[in-house]
Symmetry: C2
Subunit: 300 residues, 2 copies
């Protein structure tokens, strides 16, 4: 299986290296980090001083890569306006495109370009920081859950794709229901990524340490739960407790949006806050806290 | 009428100068600006190059002032923990204490120290900026509305106090209902002071220019309207439109909390956001946007 990676930040670099180390045929399309990665390679650092480095098949132009069987989209959603043009040269008649991006709305853009039957949606449950060009720190296993919007080629090939990830040591499974996948991921991202920025640029431990912010975290999760229900996604109340409990051991973790904010990069405001807000509104569900948070993040 | 002013920032300086210019016997208790005001006086600058300057009766110690008939409290509410100690030497057996501070909860603190029958609550509808120690810019007339919590000495003397302000060219009137006064003032302060800070430190024209922030402004006002109703205060819906309309001509106005934030001073979070939130909760009214805004401002 020939695999192309579009966007080699934390997500693209991490999964690309894992796949390459397992023997997969992986080709990396880089932009800003091209020179640095050609010189120094791609490196993953894990707890207990483990680290992995590869000299990847790196390209500056997608046309040099050509068609791939599987194309992983790991761009920031803030680059979604150029996503299809970047990926197009990799997409052949039998390709499957798998977005590993944050939030909602990415699948629809790719489906508009390449056809809904070719697109899969993956959600990554992983704790990563890109600490330098081509250098990614990883603190947790990095599970991927994959789903599809419609029947077709891509859905039929999900088991083979899941298998490729599992062989690379990345726990991967198929979601029964795509909406399920997206809403459950947002349950964490909406409050923690959002409050980390809006409360002044603080890591997750400081959100948890503030009774007022912790209460707002729960309340935002409750709004997501109600929004999800309007799409037939049942999020059990205990999942809110579980996600909060799981955040304590993460310590002073900086969610990706906080890093974007602190480093002056565009934040993924539409994918994480704007799109779920609009979807819920379209079904008559009001999310007052999410609405305010979205307006503030859009302005910051 | 011997008048003492406790706190000579924008509010205390402005009304103190107006009263002194009308011939009233005004005594100013200063803290940080004492030296500068002794040297340069107190100055108000108004549109069309009007300005007024006085050499005030300035004091560093309240005990040097002694008892006053009327004591205007114009401290930031962030100094409320020292307010009673500061004001006590001015309060004699016949004194009336009038708080001109922002938000809710100030009257109750003063009533606890000096007796509810001695305390009046004023709300100032005025656009001021203290641009340097003792120098205050004024962009609007500066109406004061005065109310009282309980029957007694202070309430009986309201007409005389209103008269003193009116003679000084400050439009002043008596509110029928104290809660009315407080909630209606918050209708503007909660959204504009709050969003100006939480949206990244922006003046009011940029709030109005963002459709998302303008919608949140209206939604926060709607929450205040519902909170007020639980206290018997009816805020007509058209007052929301009117307050928003009145904000456009203010241009790039920086609300006091924004100035506090930008200059690194404590913000009046409890008086403007915390106290109305707690009062509404005590009557079973939830204010989700105000709740989130309060948590964010508390953290900033």
């Amino acid at each position: 299986m020939r695999i192309g990676i579009v966007g080699v930040g934390a997500i693209g670099g991490f999964y690309g290296v894992k796949l390459a180390l397992s023997g997969a045929d992986v080709h990396f399309l880089l932009r800003s980090d091209y020179d640095s990665v050609c010189k120094n390679g791609l490196e993953i650092r894990e707890p207990e001083n483990r680290s992995f480095r590869i000299n990847p098949n790196a390209y500056r132009e997608a046309s040099e890569i050509g068609h791939c069987d599987l194309i992983l989209i790991a761009l920031k959603t803030t680059a979604n306006s150029v996503m299809c043009d970047l990926a197009a040269p990799l997409v052949g008649p039998d390709s499957v495109v798998l977005t590993l991006q944050n939030g909602m709305g990415n699948t629809e853009i790719l489906a508009g370009c390449f056809g809904g039957d070719r697109v899969l949606t993956g959600q990554c449950f992983v704790t990563l920081n890109r600490i330098a060009p081509g250098v990614i720190e990883n603190y947790s296993p990095g599970k991927i859950t994959v789903g599809s919007m419609v029947e077709g080629e891509a859905r039929d090939r999900m088991p083979a794709i899941v298998d490729v990830f599992n062989r690379a040591g990345v726990p991967c499974s198929i979601a029964d229901h795509l909406d399920d996948l997206l809403w459950k991921k947002l349950l964490w991202n909406v409050p923690f990524n959002g409050l980390a920025v809006a409360a002044g640029g603080i890591p997750t431990d400081r959100i948890l340490a503030s009774p007022a912010l912790l209460a707002e975290t729960r309340a935002l999760m409750e709004e997501i739960r109600i929004g999800a229900a309007a799409f037939g996604v049942e999020i059990p109340a205990r999942m809110i407790d579980r996600q909060i409990d799981a955040t304590f051991p993460m310590g002073a973790y900086r969610p990706s949006t906080l890093i974007d904010f602190l480093e002056g990069r565009p934040m993924e405001v539409e994918a994480i806050w704007g799109e779920p807000l609009r979807r819920a509104r379209s079904r008559g569900i009001l999310m007052p806290r999410l609405s305010l948070l979205y307006a503030l993040l859009s302005s910051l």
